[in-house]
């Protein structure tokens, strides 16, 4: 050590450290830039290709008509209204099922469960995320579908509800893990203050802990929606893919992702049909972007409040 110090002057050591610092900064910056570039690239690819479609299809028809039949005998039709409704229906229903359940599970894990129980349950839930979507879809066909058909006396189980239940199962792990981390991050002193005022565990959870973890819980919800809205294989297998606009959860629906997956394989390059699939992708992208921004805004507001 001593020997070393006598060889290199403090000035050069300083210089080297400075250089290392700069190199590291550059590296991290490049990584950040790369992800932004990839995002921008995808966005422009979708918009650019989707834009061509509007040479032949009016914006009004695309968004507000529910007649989708690009391979029609006479007049091809490019209305995605029905799919947007279908996608929203399945997603919202999935969140209605998964969000309360996920938050309750997260609260249980962080506030109630013994460390042993938590060590057992949490990995189990995380394991749920590892089930491939094809497998979940298969379960939808052979288990959930027939069960729904029997329970609600339907002719068949290829319904929006089937898709929603499966998506709820798939979204649960991301909701639980993020929400639990948020709840655990609430300082102990908050809870202690509440107990000191005489509240019981339930009141503390509802009035103090959950509101304090609000921004994290919103983030958990957004992650869940993201998982549900973009899922393809599961809904493709389980919801029946009928093109009609659904009247209820017991109707068959075809989501935007399913349409892209079904039709991408057969569509010739450079046709209006081809570009319209990109336009669907762009629409889906913008939808999830808007949703994320709203959630971001809400989370920020929450942070200021608490």
């Amino acid at each position: 050590m001593l020997n070393n110090a006598s060889h290199s002057s403090p000035a050069t050591t300083n210089q080297r450290r400075h250089l290392q610092d700069r190199a590291f900064k550059l590296l991290v910056k490049a990584a950040a830039l790369l992800s932004v570039l990839v995002l921008a690239g995808i966005f422009f690819l979708l918009i650019w290709n989707g834009f061509y479609m509007f040479k032949e299809v009016s914006i009004w028809e695309f968004f507000f008509s529910s007649e989708w039949n690009p391979g029609a005998l006479k007049n091809p039709q490019y209305g995605i209204g029905g799919m947007v409704v279908g996608t929203m229906l399945v997603t919202i229903a999935a969140m209605v099922l998964a969000f309360p359940l996920g938050i309750a599970l997260a609260a249980y894990l962080s506030e109630v469960a013994s460390p042993l129980m938590r060590g057992f349950v949490r990995p189990l839930i995380e394991l749920l995320a590892g089930i491939p979507s094809v497998v979940v879809g298969f379960i939808g066909i052979v288990v959930v579908g027939p069960f729904l058909a029997q329970t609600f006396n339907l002719p068949n189980g290829f319904t929006a509800l089937n898709g929603a239940i499966l998506l709820a199962i798939m979204a649960l792990p991301s909701i639980v893990t993020v929400a639990e981390d948020a709840i655990r991050a609430v300082p102990r002193s908050y809870r202690e203050a509440s107990y000191a005022l005489g509240s019981n565990k339930w009141t503390t959870l509802i009035r103090v802990t959950l509101p304090a973890a609000g921004s994290g819980i919103i983030a958990a919800g957004v992650l869940g929606v993201g998982r549900a809205v973009g899922e393809t294989m599961t809904v493709l297998m389980a919801t029946g893919n009928a093109l009609e606009v659904p009247d209820s959860l017991f109707d068959s629906v075809r989501t935007m992702t399913a349409t892209m997956a079904i039709e991408m394989g057969e569509v010739p390059f450079g046709t209006t049909h081809y570009y319209s699939l990109f336009a669907i992708g762009a629409t889906l992208f913008i939808m999830s972007l808007l949703f994320n921004l709203t959630a971001e805004y809400l989370a920020a507001k929450f942070r200021r409040l608490s």
């Binding site: 027939p146 002719p155 068949n156 290829f158 029946g240 893919n241 009928a242 093109l243």
Partner: protein
């Protein structure tokens, strides 16, 4: 020392593992109506010919033709003709699609057995799939809503039926299943279900599979698709050619495979799978002109 040994292994050991003769690959992709029978043919073919590997994939006629146009398959299986648009694209991409009809398929409608309907005519079926007829009581069945099952738009069967029977667009209530097998399973479970599939999927040695009823077509008693003589004479209306589309004339193993399909053994496999073999010999060029002309004449 160990390193030296590994080096030796790489230099002398691994090349010895490589087969001396190269295996010729044949890729086949497309129609779901054809995938099972072509797979059976390919397996039998490979048990005779050792230096060839034939891979058969489904995905729908449209996907097969798209793969041929993109140069990703040697044979596109298709249960429909190529469309004018697809032929145009082939010309642009310097691909010469040649159709070979290797078998004929009988298209059948299947129903849930509890419906107790024996026969419907094509008008009624068109009405049902167009969505004009919505309840089974309108065609002599029980008071029960009709559940329509069909294929997705990349299916040749979907396109064939739309042209030959519906002559119009499908109802938006038709559920787009992921393949023929899924239609059969869904109709078995749905008390108001109707679906369309290739005969090969619902019969074994001339008897229909359990759990579904195969619809007779026509007025009154109608004609059963299980009646081989009625199908052969054309009395049963829904018989269609099954195509292989090649890129240019076949040679080598590809030609050998096509010849195998015409052999007695090949024909037996086609018959066992529920399809009708082609009795014309495969005189390759003659067939291209005789079979191809009507296709392109459109």
């Amino acid at each position: 020392m160990v390193r030296l040994f590994i080096l030796f292994l790489f230099m002398f050991g691994l090349p010895a593992c490589r087969p001396v003769q190269t295996i010729e690959q044949v890729q086949i992709k497309g129609s779901d109506s054809e995938v099972a029978v072509v797979m059976a043919l390919a397996e039998s073919f490979m048990s005779h010919e050792h230096r060839v590997s034939v891979s058969v994939k489904g995905g729908g006629s449209g996907s097969g033709i798209a793969a041929l146009l993109n140069g990703k398959t040697d044979i596109a299986n298709s249960s429909r003709d190529m469309s004018a648009k697809e032929l145009e694209m082939a010309a642009v991409r310097n691909i010469r699609p040649i159709p070979v009809v290797f078998a004929e398929d009988v298209l059948v409608f299947i129903l849930h057995p509890s419906l107790q309907i024996r026969a419907l005519n094509l008008e009624q079926l068109a009405g049902i799939y167009r969505g004009d007829i919505r309840n089974w009581k309108e065609v002599g069945g029980p008071d029960r809503e009709i559940s329509l099952y069909g294929r997705q738009s990349n299916s040749g069967t979907y396109v064939y039926l739309r042209e030959k029977v519906l002559k119009s667009e499908y109802s938006s209530k038709v559920k787009g299943m992921n393949g023929t097998a899924q239609i059969v399973e869904a109709v078995k479970q749905d008390r108001g279900g109707i679906g369309y599939v290739s005969l090969g999927y619902v019969q074994h040695n001339g008897k229909p599979s359990a759990g579904i009823s195969v619809l007779r077509i026509g007025d009154g008693e109608g004609v059963s698709p299980l009646d081989a003589s009625a199908v052969a004479s054309g009395l049963y209306p829904l018989k269609r050619p099954l195509y292989h589309f090649l890129n240019g004339p076949a040679s080598g193993k590809l030609a050998a495979f096509l010849r195998f399909e015409r052999s007695e053994q090949g024909k037996a496999i086609i018959r066992e799978s529920g399809y009708i073999p082609i009795e014309l010999p495969l005189t390759y060029n003659a067939e291209v002109s005789s079979m191809a002309q009507p296709v392109y004449a459109k």
